[in-house]
Symmetry: C2
């Protein structure tokens, strides 16, 4: 690999002149000099060594990205959007890591990022407690966290971007209610996160508003195991098998997310229950997979790309140009996508014509 020295020699100029052209200060020199330097760069196939640049400037064009598990299609999608935008918009590459939602893995990753000179990090759905990386922030890192709010009472320097989880679950639940469902359930996994509790609140709020609070139950599935979030579908399946034998089984279920809904549907089917004839299911996320299932999943579409962009934009800002209003960004562009997994409850007539498919948009 050619160095800046080689280029300087080849062009018969000093290294600083080469450095100047490298750093967009071509105006400081004669056109002829510039041409010579560029020719030399071409001839030698010179690429500035980023490590050296970074050591010198303290800046690394690398973005740290922590996800619970890359094998989860939801995170895969967000990750891809983040990566594309970081690359196209800022020339940053992405250093990624699966954390399996383990505190130790998260900490270790932050340590490495710090040592690696990475100063910008996006954390997806991390643990409830984010104190273990607050220290990284104090050391100058810019971090934005997805799908969790700031911890109340603590003035965090971590920015937060998230969908309106409360509203998403409320919308889903409301849809079930509008279709005539009375026995409602929200299917989640073991362990509480901010986003999960917001969804549960939204679910309860919708039930409450319809005077159905007493009939709204929580289905708490098992824990996610070592394989990370992809098994959430398995939890859904187990939950389905479990409720299938209950006499007072719910007729309409809102799932924590699409993957869980998919698992739920598989489990329900295994248990001999038909969706939507016997049980209706609504997801949250709007994964492309939800359109592929049988029946196609009715779900609340989240503005993933917009959030991905917002996160990148936010994480690229320098600490000093922080806008206080950007501390917490909640995305409310939710859209209920009606497909085939919801029908009136068994033995009841539809309260309104299921008629033509309407896409309700939330303001």
């Amino acid at each position: 690999m050619a160095t800046i020295q080689d280029v300087a020699r080849h062009a018969a100029v000093s290294v600083s002149t080469v450095s100047n052209v490298l750093n967009g200060r071509a105006d400081r020199m004669r056109a002829e000099t510039l041409a010579r330097v560029e020719a030399a760069i071409q001839a030698l196939q010179f690429r500035p060594n980023k490590l050296a640049q970074q050591l010198k400037t303290g800046q690394t064009p690398l973005l740290g990205l922590l996800v619970p598990s890359m094998a989860n299609p939801m995170y895969g999608f967000i990750a891809r959007e983040i990566e594309s935008f970081a690359q196209e918009g800022f020339g940053f590459r992405v250093l990624i890591g699966s954390t399996y939602r383990e505190r130790e893995k998260e900490s270790a990753f932050f340590e490495d990022l710090l040592a690696q000179g990475v100063r910008r990090v996006i954390v997806i759905s991390s643990l409830a407690d984010e104190r273990h990386f607050e220290s990284a922030v104090e050391q100058g890192m810019v971090v934005v966290s997805y799908d969790r709010g700031a911890t109340p009472g603590r003035r965090s320097r971590v920015a937060h971007v998230m969908p309106d989880n409360f509203e998403a679950a409320r919308l889903a639940t409301q849809h079930l209610i509008a279709r005539g469902h009375r026995r409602l359930a929200f299917a989640t996994v073991a362990g509480m996160t901010m986003s999960r509790s917001a969804k549960i609140d939204g679910f309860h709020a919708a039930a409450e508003a319809a005077g159905l609070r007493a009939q709204a139950q929580l289905l708490d599935g098992g824990p996610l195991n070592e394989y990370g979030d992809a098994v959430i579908a398995e939890v859904g399946r187990a939950t389905a098998l479990q409720i299938a034998e209950r006499p007072e089984r719910p007729s309409g279920i809102v799932a924590l997310n699409d993957l869980m809904a998919l698992g739920l549907m598989a489990g329900l089917r295994e248990a001999g229950l038909r969706v939507p004839q016997d049980v209706s299911v609504v997801g949250i996320d709007g994964l492309f997979l939800s359109a592929l299932s049988n029946p196609a999943l009715t779900t609340v579409q989240l503005p993933i790309r917009a959030m991905a962009r917002a996160m990148v934009q936010r994480v690229m800002k320098n600490p000093d140009e922080l806008d206080a209003t950007e501390r917490e960004q909640v995305f409310t562009e939710l859209r209920l996508v009606e497909r085939e997994s919801v029908a009136p409850p068994p033995g009841e007539t539809a309260r309104r014509a299921p008629g033509k498919k309407i896409e309700k948009t939330n303001p």
Copy 2:
């Protein structure tokens, strides 16, 4: 961030002594000195700056990983396995990039990796032509490529790891034939890659062996668009819609991969055809999603984890300790997982009892 200088000062030793303890040469000093240095490291929370180490040593504990699209669950899964193993086994972090199978994006990524000091790269399912990164190899990069063989006639320094694609497709096709299918089809997307053509060959070989070559057709779907590989399911759906109206429609279809199979099933259903009663479908991959579909997808399970490990192991070797036999590693541990998407063709009696579910394992 504390530097090695700070530590040296704090411990009242020279930087080289600190460097020695950092690099496991503690034997060269008195126990007391070692203790002082360690205490100082502790006290100052010192973490050696990797950038500086790298600039000096020319080694970066970073693994480059190119995938067509992280949004594709298949690649998400492989990526996660690679990342976990690279981290646990070698302390390497992963620099990832979606290439959308575009030559330019691949080249640009290689350029960046080179400049970044990354010397080890795993490329998943890249373009047919890999000359654009052969030059990177010549500059000392160790690269292993997934799911494509070495270009015949060229002595490549790129290592290859792949499943036995021919056998996978053959197994899938054979299964359909054993169930009584005569009108066979292989559904693929536009554009040929080595792995695709190997699968097509396997499909044809199985048909040939059963004297069905004339009735084995290729279903060539549209191209993958900008969104990358996740839309392969869309292509599958389009293909299904297209064949549904053909009088001589195939009764058994082998899909390029599970995602395509999922799309195919959705499309078939949309067209009013039942799977497996009207059309049988077999996938290839063994994604966790294939167990969730309705009907659950019969598929050929590939040894993903084993391949991921092999790739990491291989890419971590130094060029001089290359074993010629490792140039190309083909994984043959294929397993047909029978689920629900295959039945005898309509209007025909099963040639053998569909009976108990058997998992055929390939030696």
